[in-house]
Symmetry: C2
Subunit: 127 residues, 2 copies
DNA sequence: CCAAGTGTATTGTTGTATTGATACACATGG
DNA sequence: CCATGTGTATCAATACAACAATACACTTGG
């Protein structure tokens, strides 16, 4: 995996270390990161995105305690071997659930009918 | 408007005062809050949700500087008269755009096809 | 008139979160 | 063996949100 595959938005309200963890969670669940695959080093990611190495380390540490990553002493971090190549579609869909709930709530507050929302999302999903 | 119409999540990462502002923005854009309608007082909202009055005042102040609300001296805050009853569907949809973009990005990272995402959202939107 | 209701400015405190700088322990590989 | 590469523990700096307690200016309604 390349450090450029991570999307970092330093100005977003969401803290950087959490952006990284959640992104890893999705990339692993979707199978874009295979079990055993080595991640870019803390300093590599930090250098590429011009952020602090400790911020990346914090993300890696959290991902490890979550069971996503494994420490290979002296080598770095790798996708945990216990992770299957890719979770089932329903499991992956479940990861989107909170976001879908919030979206539905906002649409309701806006008094938007379902149809235009679905139409717009369809377009964004590239169909 | 009743104080109970506002949804406050004290443990959410998003600060309370911003939860209030964004909720007002949507409720006004959708027409659930009509122009001229009086809002519940700072102390009323604070009491109902067990939060600090100054937190509500901060939200009201921001909403005013954004042109959403108007100060009626001695009476309280009201939905700005310049606000039409409800914005066009496209304008309201535009308020959802950032969230839709993020959702699409996450679905892509999860390697989820469009169909199950749309199916789930359709259900949540109550169709 | 005046009590009671508006919103708000002020000051201070508390708790928490994020990021940064530095130094360290460890394993690898030539 | 040791330079070089891992990750990370530690401490400090900073920012922010929320709360608390007042005090104030203003308008309304009896």
């Amino acid at each position: 995996m390349d450090a450029s595959l991570l999307t970092i938005q330093p100005n977003a309200p969401e803290p950087i270390y959490r952006q990284i963890v959640e992104q890893l969670r999705r990339l692993i669940a979707g199978g874009q990161l295979a079990a055993g695959e080595l991640l870019p080093s803390v300093r590599e990611v930090a250098g590429f995105h011009a952020i602090n190495p400790m911020t990346v380390s914090r993300a890696y540490g959290l991902a490890e305690s979550e069971g996503l990553l494994e420490r290979l002493r002296g080598k770095g971090m790798a996708v945990a071997a216990t992770r299957r190549a890719s979770q089932s579609e329903n499991q992956r869909l479940a990861l989107l659930e909170p976001q879908l709930l919030e979206l539905a709530r906002h649409a309701r507050e806006l008094e938007l009918p379902a149809e235009p929302v679905l139409r717009r999302l369809t377009k964004l999903l590239g169909d």
